[in-house]
Structures are given as C-alpha cells and as structure tokens.
C-alpha cells in the first residue's frame, strides 16, 4: 500500500510562519512610529531646556528619514501579501540594518558613547536572535558593534563631530572610559547573541522533532486505516461466503432436512449475519473521516430517505411494522456527504423498526429550513429509560431491554449516528419514554448550498 507522506515545508524549522512574522513586522512598524515621535519630542525638550546643546535640525532630519522609511515599510506590508517566509525574513533583516544605521546616526548627533540609549542596539540583537538562525544573529550583533565602535572611534579621533549630551562629564572624552564602555558593549552584545541563538536553536530542535512526530503519526494513522480496510474485507469475505453456504444449504435442503438441523442452520445464519453487521458497523465507525474526504455533492434528500426506507420495508413487514414518511413537497436539494447521511438515516430507521412492537408505526420526517435540515425518526417501540438516554450513544452500549428484544444489534448504530452527525457539524437529540417510543432528531447545518430549494418542475 502506497502512502503519500505530507510535503515537508521548507520553513519547518523556523518558529514563525510568514503570516505571523508579518504581524510582528506590523508591530515593528508601530514601534518605529513611537520611536520617531520620541526622538522628535526628546530633541525639542532637550533643546528647550538647554538651547543649542543638540543639532536639532539634523536629529529631526534623521527622524524624518526614519518616518519616510517606515511609511514605505507600512505601505509594502499593506500591498504585498505575506506568502513566503524567506522573503519576509529578508525584509526584517533589511529593516533591521536600516534601523541600526539610523540609530548610529542619531547617537552620533546626541552624544555618542555618552548616550545611554546605546542599549537600543541590544534590543535589535535580541529580536534578531528570536527570528534568525545562529550565523545571522551574529551578523546583526557584529554590525551593531562595528557601527558603534566606528562612531566612537571617529568621534574620538576627530573624524566625526562630537555633540555633548546635556550634562555629560568631561570623563567621557577619556580613553579608559571609552574602552571600558565599548568593551562591555561588545561583550554584552556577543553574549546576548550567543545565548539567544543557542536557546532558539534548542527550541527549533524541539519543534522539528514535534513536526516529525506529527508527520509520523499522520502516516501511521493512514496505515492503520488501510490495514483496517484490509482486515474488514478479509473478515467479511469468508463470513459472507459461510453465510451464503449455510443459507444455500437451508434452501436447497428445505424439504429433506430434519427440523433440528434446519433450526441449527438457522441459528448459524443469524450469528453469521450478526458478525457481518458488526464488521460493517466497525468499518463505518472507523471510517467517518474517510467518508468526509469525499467531495460533497448535491443530494436530493427525498430520494435518499425514500431509498433507505425502501430497503427496510421487508424487515418492517416481517415485524408487522408500518413506515410512514412525511417528506417536503419541494425537492430538498442540499450539498452534502451522501455516504454519511445515508448511514445516519439507515441506522436510525433500522433501529426504529427493530425496536418496534408488532403493529407499531415508524414515522420518518424531514424538515428543510434555510440554514439547516431536520430529520426526525419516531417509533412507538420499547423506549429508552432516562438513565440510559445518554449512554446509548456510546460505542457498544445496548440497553438491557434492547438486548432482551433482539440479539441482532451491534451497539454501534447510534454511536455511528452521533459521530457522523457531529462530523457534519450537526446535533442529535433524543426524546423517549419507556414503553411509549423514542424520537431521534438530527439537525444538520446546510453548508455549501446557497441556492434556495427548487420548486417541483
């Protein structure tokens, strides 16, 4: 048996999807607006307190550049749908490089190494370690280190202008302070990059393993289903052949066989029938999801119900039970899963017939509402005691009364009804009174068909 294993996504070992990364990108965009506002406000406040201490024009220009870039990012995020994770990641990296450059420029305008906001570099390295893999995290860390070191060296050597920050002490111009600060900066950034990326590496490994396990489970599940089908067929075929053989023996020897032998063969046929029912029910019960994978198609519910009731007429006649159908006069076309619906209806109707008293009546009704359709199967049979009403939907549960009345039940019929109904998004309810009968109501939403019911031509 061939198994199609699910395709391995390229980005499986990343922690984010393109869409979730995009949401973070949009969050970064908002943060950047906040940064623009902060830079503008801080510059104006500082200039108000100590006029002339900062190059206000240049700082505002840098803030303007950041605003323009951010506007471009925002528009891009609105226009381009997030489809490829690698494209999104490249975009983040580009933005980060741009941000680091602008941060350095602004730091240069506002005191360089004197400005405690150089911690902002650390934030970028932390974000990088969350999004990228090891080498790229260190690229960002080294870029930050290079930019700050170049600025500080440039200012110290007089290649770049140095702007004093507010109350910065003259000590900031001394080499030991600069080296100490730069050294700590290098250490902290590289350490952050190392810790961040190694923790994320570990997390990615865990995620890879989970993805792998998930994939194995899907394959195992499919193998189980295939195996189950095989077993079902392999069990049902010989049992069906045995049933046919015994049945044929009974019919061929009708006139010659002693009554005792006929009785025994009849019992054998009964038990073989039960085995066949059991295999069929088990197959149905385990194959629900499988049936749902079949494309939903247009179904005429009247035809479907009438066909199933037709199939139950022989059994009903044998038990002296009448089946009464009340179906809508318009053709109730819905889009749905015929296979599952059929099993729901068949199980309910055959139950109703099986547990009716002789002379009883089974009512099968269908109501078609705009958003849902309601199927009702009512009998005047043995009924179900209140304490059993929830349990009868459990697999293999049969009430004492049902067991006494018929040894034909598998205990799976109603479990199948409930399972399939729920898989179709519907509900099944039961009203019952012991000795007076039961009414099962199945309500299934009409999904997929938007056309109004057609008039009878």
């Amino acid at each position: 048996m061939a198994h199609r294993s699910p395709p391995a996504p390229d980005d499986a070992s990343h922690f984010v999807s393109a869409a979730s990364l995009r949401r973070r990108l949009e969050w970064f965009d908002r943060l950047r607006w906040v940064a623009v506002v902060c830079v503008v406000v801080a510059t104006l406040v500082a200039d108000g307190v100590l006029p002339g201490s900062l190059p206000v024009g240049r700082l505002l220009a840098a803030a303007a550049v950041l605003a323009v870039l951010n506007a471009v990012y925002t528009v891009r995020n609105l226009r381009v749908p997030p489809t490829d994770l690698r494209v999104e990641l490249r975009h983040v990296k580009l933005q980060m490089v741009g941000d680091l450059f602008l941060l350095t420029v602004m730091l240069n305008f506002s005191g360089g190494i004197e400005n405690p906001l150089l911690f902002m570099y650390l934030i970028h390295v932390i974000i990088a370690s969350l999004l990228f893999k090891g080498r790229e995290v260190f690229q960002i860390a080294w870029l930050a280190i290079f930019l700050l070191t170049a600025d500080v060296a440039g200012e110290h050597l007089g290649l770049l202008a140095h702007h004093h920050l507010l109350s910065a002490s003259p000590a900031t111009h001394q080499l030991p302070f600069i080296l100490l600060t730069l050294g700590s900066f290098w250490l902290v950034l590289l350490f952050a990059a190392y810790i961040g990326s190694s923790i994320m590496k570990h997390n990615r490994a865990i995620k890879d393993e989970l993805v792998q396990r998930q994939r194995e489970l899907v394959v195992a599940d499919r193998a189980k289903l295939d195996f189950f089908r095989f077993v079902t067929h392999e069990i049902k075929s010989p049992v069906a052949t045995a049933q046919s053989a015994v049945q044929a023996a009974l019919e061929l020897g009708e006139d010659d066989l002693p009554d005792q032998v006929k009785d025994l063969l009849g019992r054998a046929v009964g038990r073989l029938n039960l085995a066949i029912e059991m295999v069929k029910d088990l197959a149905d019960f385990t194959r629900g999801g499988d049936l749902k994978r079949v494309e939903p198609a247009e179904i005429d519910l009247n035809v479907l119900i009438a066909r199933i009731v037709d199939g139950q007429l022989d059994e009903a006649a044998r038990r002296n039970v009448t089946i009464n159908m009340s179906l809508p006069s318009i053709q109730p076309h819905v889009v749905g899963h015929a296979g599952m619906l059929e099993k729901i209806v068949r199980n309910l109707v055959s139950n109703a017939v099986r547990y009716s008293e002789p002379g009883g009546r089974v009512d099968v009704g269908l109501d078609l509402a705009p958003r849902e359709y309601v199927l009702k199967v009512a009998d005047q049979g043995i009924g179900i005691a209140p304490e059993d009403q929830e349990k009868i939907f459990d697999e293999f549960y049969r009430t004492r009364l049902a067991q006494d009345m018929s040894n034909l039940g598998t205990g799976l019929g109603l479990a199948i009804v409930r399972k399939f109904t729920e898989e179709l998004g519907g509900t099944v309810t039961l009203e019952s009174e012991p000795g007076r009968g039961s009414t099962f109501t199945v309500t299934i939403p009409r999904t997929g068909d938007t056309n109004p019911p057609r008039e009878e031509p």
């Binding site: 052949t241 049945q247 044929a248 061929l252 066949i276 059929e342």
Partner: protein
C-alpha cells in the same frame, strides 16, 4: 427447468463459486466459472454466457470494474447482463450509489455480499434476456 442458459461466475472465492454453482444448477442453469478477470474475459468471449456474475475485488481492489468496462467495450460481450458482487461496498474509498452510478458503472445490478440464494435466483431471472 432452464437447461440451456449459461451463467459465468467470475470470482476468486472458490467456495462462493461452489455455493453459487449449486444454487443456480439446482434451478437448471449451466454454471461456468473463472478465477481471474483475464480468464473471465476470455471465457466470456468464447462461451458467450447469457449472464455474468462478477466480483469487484480479485487481484486488485477494482479488477472487477476493469473487467466490466472491457466486457462492455467489446462487441462480442457488450449485450451480456452483468450482476456485480462486492464484499464491502465502499472498499475502494468511494461509495456506490446503484441508482446514481449506474450510468458510470456499466453493470445491471450491484449487490453486496452476502446475497441470499433466493434473491440471487430472482435477480438472475430478472436480468436474463428473453429467449430468442
């Protein structure tokens, strides 16, 4: 008793073939059989049976379907009625709706095993073409 009508059973379940043989021979039919689709096709052409009972699953899950299509596609066997037997209706992953799928499935009747002898005899009678 109808001694001149021949029924071909194509099924790899020898026991079932014997059950069907006894049931139908008791009614006076001549029963021939083939255990593979390939031999079934050859026998059908050579013997020109009056009706064919065909199992869906033999070597593969849908060998019976292939055989049915080939029987219908061949001038020599096109008119022979086919009753198709299957152990599990939805074995191949899609459910057959005998009413709906008849136009796609070129068989006269689709039966789920086990088929009772009485029903089998009735259906054979129903689908046997009237004698020329």
């Amino acid at each position: 008793m109808e001694t001149d009508r021949t029924i071909l059973v194509i099924d790899d379940d020898i026991d079932l073939v014997e059950v069907i043989r006894m049931t139908l021979e008791n009614e006076g039919y001549r029963v021939i059989d083939a255990q593979t689709g390939e031999r079934g096709l050859a026998t059908a052409k050579r013997e020109q049976p009056d009706l064919i009972l065909l199992d869906v699953m033999m070597g593969t899950v849908d060998e019976g379907f292939q055989v049915a299509y080939e029987l219908r596609g061949d001038e020599a066997t096109r008119e022979i009625p086919i009753l198709m037997l299957t152990a599990v209706t939805d074995q191949t992953g899609f459910d057959f709706d005998p009413g709906k799928d008849q136009e796609y499935l070129p068989v006269n009747e689709f039966l789920e095993k086990p088929v009772s002898p009485r029903k089998l005899i009735d259906l054979v009678r129903k689908h046997l073409p009237a004698k020329a």
